[in-house]
């Protein structure tokens, strides 16, 4: 939120500066209106692109709401390995535990995240940004 306000404030400042520059250029450039128009237009063009870009980037990274999920540390580790495409067996090997234990963890993850499949759990985990 604060970041948004800062960026918006900066943009307003830039706009004001541009207007200042225009007023100055009115005297400086005198009668050559064409050049003046081109410069002003170009500046606004750049500004427009920056603003557009800003909103596009915002749109992509808008889901920043990190919900503290009820997953334990180990469950989170399992979920991450799952999301990396590992099988229960592989996860067991990497965490030095039995495959049955991994299954227990997975079942609890599905329960806690209200998912019916590991792929759904992964999607939910991504949505909650806990992966």
């Amino acid at each position: 939120m604060k970041k948004t306000i800062l960026i918006f404030g900066s943009l307003c400042a830039v706009i004001l500066l541009l207007f200042q520059f225009e007023q100055w250029s009115l005297f400086a450039l005198g009668g050559s209106e064409n050049l003046y128009v081109i410069i002003t237009g170009t500046l606004f063009l750049i500004l427009g692109m920056l603003i557009s870009r800003h909103f596009y980037i915002k749109k992509e990274t808008r889901k920043r709401q990190v919900q503290k999920s009820s997953l334990s540390d180990q469950e989170l580790r399992v979920l991450n390995l799952m999301a990396n495409g590992h099988s229960n067996k592989e996860i067991a090997e990497q965490l030095f535990i039995a495959e049955t234990t991994v299954k227990s963890h997975v079942s609890k993850i599905l329960l806690k995240l209200d998912a019916r499949r590991r792929t759904e759990a992964i999607r939910i985990g991504r949505d909650l940004e806990i992966i």
Copy 2:
């Protein structure tokens, strides 16, 4: 390719029209340079946003064409539904095809992406930015 040329041509036409409008407004608005500047700037602003937007969209669609070289349209649809956590049965229902067909598609996806599990295929798809 032809589409690109058409879009680019259209943009050039728009720019030329804008310049035309500027020349006209020089006479029409007379001494009120401030209003003139604001209008011109705004038009360029909009143009800048449109151009920027155009390139952003292009950037996204360019990645989509990388995918087309490997995965077919339907396979891509299946992969996306998979990534959303759907089962083969659910995917079949959503695409109005048989579950066996979905299995065929999934097998080909795994082959093409060199994955051994659907979760791995999802991860690879994300890495390749085709999801």
